[in-house]
């Protein structure tokens, strides 16, 4: 899988670490911590460019096809 980092450009996914549903960025109540949709399609996720610029990214990805639909800095 390839992810295009807004700072570093297109890189292989092994440079990034996966953090989970982007919903966790919204807060830390019970729902945001534990309740998850499990879509067979587009899914917003948090990734960190751990072996690159270390930016936190919000990646929208089709989890059925692994197609990366959009990448932006998380929280931006």
């Amino acid at each position: 899988m390839r992810i295009t980092c807004p700072h570093c450009g297109e890189r292989d996914s092994r440079e990034f670490s996966y953090y989970g549903d982007a919903i966790t960025a919204r807060g830390e109540d019970f729902a945001n911590t534990y309740l998850r949709d499990n879509p067979a399609g587009e899914h917003a996720e948090l990734w960190q460019h751990i072996s690159g610029c270390r930016a936190w990214l919000e990646v929208v990805r089709n989890v059925s096809t692994h197609e990366v639909i959009s990448v932006k800095e998380a929280g931006a």
Binding site: D12, A25, F30
Partner: protein, 949 residues
């Protein structure tokens, strides 16, 4: 000799000696083991998997199911090498496999006589009794009887590598379609990678005696000279993955006697913006009784041996075909000097005068145990005739090589007009199949589709193609001959038409069930020559068409990949990187014993004099620190600086422990929680200056803590002005503790920080302790780490102290009840570990305050009964030992030389309220049981007076 007087892409001026089963032969450069053996008149090359049937080559390529050999000797021995792709080099040694005592006389050929009992499902039905015998008796014996080559059992002495490549256009296959695609991209300056599994480029243009051979030479020459083109011979693209990433295996030195410092193979990951799949097609055999004898080959393979290798494998031939490839093959054979009978299943086959032609005829049987001797042909009127022949060429039509297009889950689609599966459009994003791989079989179609697809992908004009034949594909499928006897579909796994019929009779109606029941297509060739024939048989049985019957999936790798290549250079000591502390060499010089902690290498203890056990050294080191002074390196500790005007506010929200009012030059121990309310980590926070903090997270948690801090700073609270930087690698850190530590250095008081000048080096000295004695941790720039160790050791030794390792440090921290991640195990809340909840907000607060989060509480345990052992990980139980009676577990247990007995930390239900009571510890693994007294989780200097001394 079967070598033709001239022709072929071999260098006849040079001879390469090699051996097969101990017998010496000669080959020429350009030969494969298969072509060289055929040239030497050897047709018998292997034994089949299950029935031990004598076998010869079926193909001239990587789809070969029969001619599998063991290559090399000793540790270099490589089983299941395809003789049809292995190039001969001088001194090559090869053995046949799966036979005993010899290839010509194999005892287990007797299994073939038992074939009526050995059909599909035989093992499942037979070896059911007695219970347990399968595991100990039947399976090991069956494994020994079946199987292919033998592994050497030794470590592979070859070296391998892994590497990346990036390109605009990846072209897979260098036949006519692939060459045109590459040319189209290359001439407009695109970065093109052209990969072919063969060592000669040109595909079928080389295998058939094509007029375009001069054109191939010219194009390959042009591509080789372009700086934007990478030609990768001997490189099989093995898999298609997400995002235009492809796996490819380059056999760098498999064709050489020695790798001479080069890796044997390189496993590439190729990232391509666009990909053209020009992998060609595989010819399919026709199933007829005894169609597996040595000498029976695919028609295209026969032509390849004639044109490319200058070998006529036999003198007298029968060509059995259902399409015009039969005529073409008969022509080439006659021209090479063979006697040929052409058996064509069609009534309307074009008439042929060069050789004897039999229309509407079928091959119904063959003879010749170790090699074909005669072929029985049945005419349309039912009469039969035996024809003497040592070679038989089968032409059953072509299957496009769709494999890579299935790797991301798409199934190919059936095209009835060419009676074949072709790739589904869009099966792999940005990949287009062209030429024969896309069911476009004529040379003209291959050339033009290759150029067109590349042009379309890149948005450029296609390169000009040479003029070539454009015969339309016309085929009436003919899958198998209706006749008595076993007709092979899967040669490698010994699956016959009869097995498919039996599977169907036993209600294996799904293709996937049939496949698993009969093992069809599950050998290392993935059924490249077998699957479609079996589907056709199944379709006939169910009365459905082939597309309704289904197709099996193809998965990576396209051809087998050695584990060594996937591992690359990551073997032995290079399996994982090692992290060394700045004082690593210093500790080695002082005779440290070592322990791996994650990637870190840490001294566990420093043995002295007559000490024989680790406990002797550890106990001495503990007492040395407790009574004098000890020095140990703690550079593995995380070091994260947090700076900025809002740094204090930021850390106050991160930590459960209040951090806002921490004064500059002061240090505070703190706990931070995860979002879900459980404890993430503990450590000290140093306020270096007003807007400058230094965190010391635990060694193992520092990566997680750093990511967490970065996330909070950027995503959670972008309004806070903080900067975070990891300085873990910049500083060497050494702990010096003990009642005499202050004689070593006049450092800061407990929980205070001083920047100090030490012999001209700017040091950070922290009044912290993890062992319970007074002292400091001193940080200097990493390059001074060893010098600092030396400086401290000299002073410590003068005071009766010395070096100590992580074992002693661990004993001392348990004595003091300090935490590690044995206690902070991801399930412990701050209540459980005995920390109060402050009156302020912090990460994890909302979730931590849920009542359900309160679990077993941290306590200290000592034994009271006769059994004195306490075991880390042992369970604490009430009443009888059993799953329902577990009330906690021991997190850490050590022998305390200070106290003279074992002490343990444990998490125990309602532990704090139960102090003074007893609880039973059970270690079911080693059968140890002990009664323990529950107390507070601190065994030494509970008031911390020694820290402030």
């Amino acid at each position: 000799m079967r070598r033709l007087p001239k022709g072929g892409l071999i260098d006849r001026s040079r001879s390469l000696p090699f051996t097969f089963d101990g017998q010496s032969y000669c080959a020429h450069p350009g030969d494969t083991v298969a072509s060289a053996l055929l040239a030497n008149g050897v047709r018998l090359m292997g034994r089949s998997f299950k029935y031990h049937r004598p076998r010869g080559v079926l193909t001239a390529g990587s789809e070969e199911p029969n001619a599998l050999i063991e290559l090399g000797t000793g540790a270099h021995r490589l089983p299941n090498t395809r003789a049809t792709t292995q190039e001969v080099f001088a001194g090559l040694t090869a053995q046949s496999q799966n036979r005993w005592p010899s290839l010509k006389f194999d005892i287990k050929e007797a299994l073939d006589l038992g074939h009526p009992f050995l059909g599909a499902g035989f093992y499942y039905k037979t070896f059911m009794w007695p219970r347990g015998a399968w595991h100990h008796l039947w399976e090991p014996n069956i494994r020994r009887a079946a199987g292919l080559g033998r592994l050497s059992g030794e470590a592979d002495p070859a070296t391998y590598d892994k590497a990346w490549k990036h390109c605009d256009l990846l072209v897979i296959g260098a036949g006519p379609a692939g060459l045109m695609a590459a040319l189209t991209g290359a001439r407009v300056g695109k970065h093109v990678v052209l990969a072919d599994e063969d060592f000669v480029l040109g595909g079928r243009l080389r295998g058939d005696g094509s007029d375009l051979r001069p054109w191939v030479r010219k194009v390959v020459g042009e591509l080789a000279n372009l700086p934007n083109v990478t030609l990768m011979k001997r490189t099989t693209v093995t898999g298609a993955y997400d995002g235009g990433t492809y796996g490819a295996l380059e056999r760098v030195a498999d064709h050489l006697p020695e790798a001479k410092g080069a890796p044997q193979q390189i496993f590439w990951r190729i990232v391509a913006k666009h990909t053209i799949l020009a992998g060609g097609a595989h010819e399919r055999p026709i199933a007829f009784p005894n169609n597996d004898r040595p000498g029976i080959m695919l028609a295209s393979a026969v032509r390849t041996y004639i044109h490319r290798y200058g070998v006529l494998p036999a003198k007298r031939w029968v060509v059995f075909a259902n399409n015009n490839e039969g005529v073409r093959t008969a022509h080439d054979l006659v021209k090479a000097g063979a006697e040929v009978t052409l058996v064509d299943t069609r009534a309307d086959a074009p008439s042929e005068t060069l050789c004897r032609q039999l229309k509407r005829a079928e091959v119904v049987n063959t003879r010749g145990r170790l090699g074909l001797k005669a072929v029985e042909v049945r005419f349309s009127n039912g009469n039969t005739e035996w024809i003497e022949a040592e070679g038989l060429a089968m032409a059953g039509g072509w299957n496009p090589s769709v494999h890579l297009t299935c790797h991301m889950g798409a199934r190919p689609e059936w095209h009835a007009d060419i009676a074949a599966f072709v790739p589904r459009a869009g099966a792999v994003p940005n990949l287009q199949a062209v030429g024969a791989a896309n069911g476009e079989f004529s040379t003209h179609a291959a050339l033009s589709s290759g150029a067109k697809a590349a042009a379309q992908a890149l948005g450029v004009n296609p390169a000009d193609a040479p003029v070539a034949e454009d015969t339309p594909t016309k085929i009436m499928p003919f899958w198998h001959v209706q006749a008595k006897g076993r007709a092979w579909l899967d040669f490698q796994n010994d699956v016959t038409v009869k097995d498919i019929v039996q599977a169907h009779a036993e209600n294996m109606r799904s293709v996937e069930h049939m496949k698993r029941y009969t093992t069809l297509g599950m050998a290392t060739d993935q059924g490249k020559t077998a699957n479609i024939g079996a589907l056709a048989v199944m379709a006939g049985l169910t009365g459905q068409g082939i597309p309704e019957t289904g197709t099996t999936m193809f998965r990576p790798p396209y051809t087998p990949v050695q584990m060594g290549a996937l591992g690359g250079a990551h073997v032995g000591a290079d399996f994982m990187p090692e992290r060394l502390m700045p004082g690593d060499g210093f500790a080695r010089d002082h005779g440290a014993n070592w322990v791996e902690m994650g990637l870190w290498q840490r001294p566990s203890l420093f043995k002295q004099g007559a000490e024989r056990t680790w406990r002797q050294s550890c106990d001495r080191e503990v007492m040395m620190v407790r009574e004098a002074v000890g020095v140990t390196e703690v550079s593995t500790l995380g070091k994260i600086e947090v700076q900025g005007p809002d740094a204090a506010e930021f850390l106050n929200r991160i930590f459960l422990t209040p951090m806002k009012k921490l004064k500059a030059g002061h240090i505070r121990y703190g706990l931070m929680l995860r979002n879900d309310g459980f404890v993430m980590d503990d450590g000290t926070v140093v306020r270096l200056g007003e807007d400058n903090f230094l965190l010391h997270p635990t060694t193992g948690a520092s990566a997680e803590v750093l990511s967490h801090l970065e996330f909070c700073a950027v995503v959670r609270w972008p309004e806070l002005d903080v900067q975070i930087i990891d300085v873990s690698e910049h500083w060497a850190q050494v702990a010096v503790h003990g009642p005499k530590a202050h004689e070593v250095l006049a450092g800061p008081a407990f929980m205070r920080f001083h920047a100090m000048d030490m012999e001209g080096v700017q040091a950070r000295v922290f009044g912290v302790s993890y062992c319970g004695e007074a002292g400091f941790e001193i940080a200097v720039p990493a390059r001074y780490g060893a010098a600092l160790m030396e400086w401290l050791l000299e002073k410590a030794e003068a005071l009766g102290g010395g070096l100590y390792g992580i074992e002693a440090l661990n004993v001392m921290r348990v004595e003091k009840g300090y935490l590690t991640h044995a206690e902070i195990d991801g399930r412990a809340s701050h209540f459980d570990l005995g920390f109060p909840t402050p009156d302020k907000d912090f990460i994890g607060r909302e979730m931590a305050m849920r009542e359900g989060l309160r679990g077993p509480e941290l306590v200290g345990l000592v034994t009271t009964g006769t059994a004195k052992a306490l075991v880390g990980g042992a369970l604490l139980v009430k009443g009888e030992f059993g799953a329902d009676n577990v009330v906690g577990h021991i997190t850490s247990a050590v022998f305390s030389p200070t106290l003279g007995h074992m002490v343990a930390l444990a998490l125990l239900e309602s532990g704090r309220a139960r102090q003074g009571e007893t609880v039973r510890m059970v270690d079911a693994v080693s059968g140890i049981s002990a009664v323990c007294e529950i107390g507070p989780p601190v065994f030494y200097d509970p008031k911390g007076e020694r820290l402030r001394a």
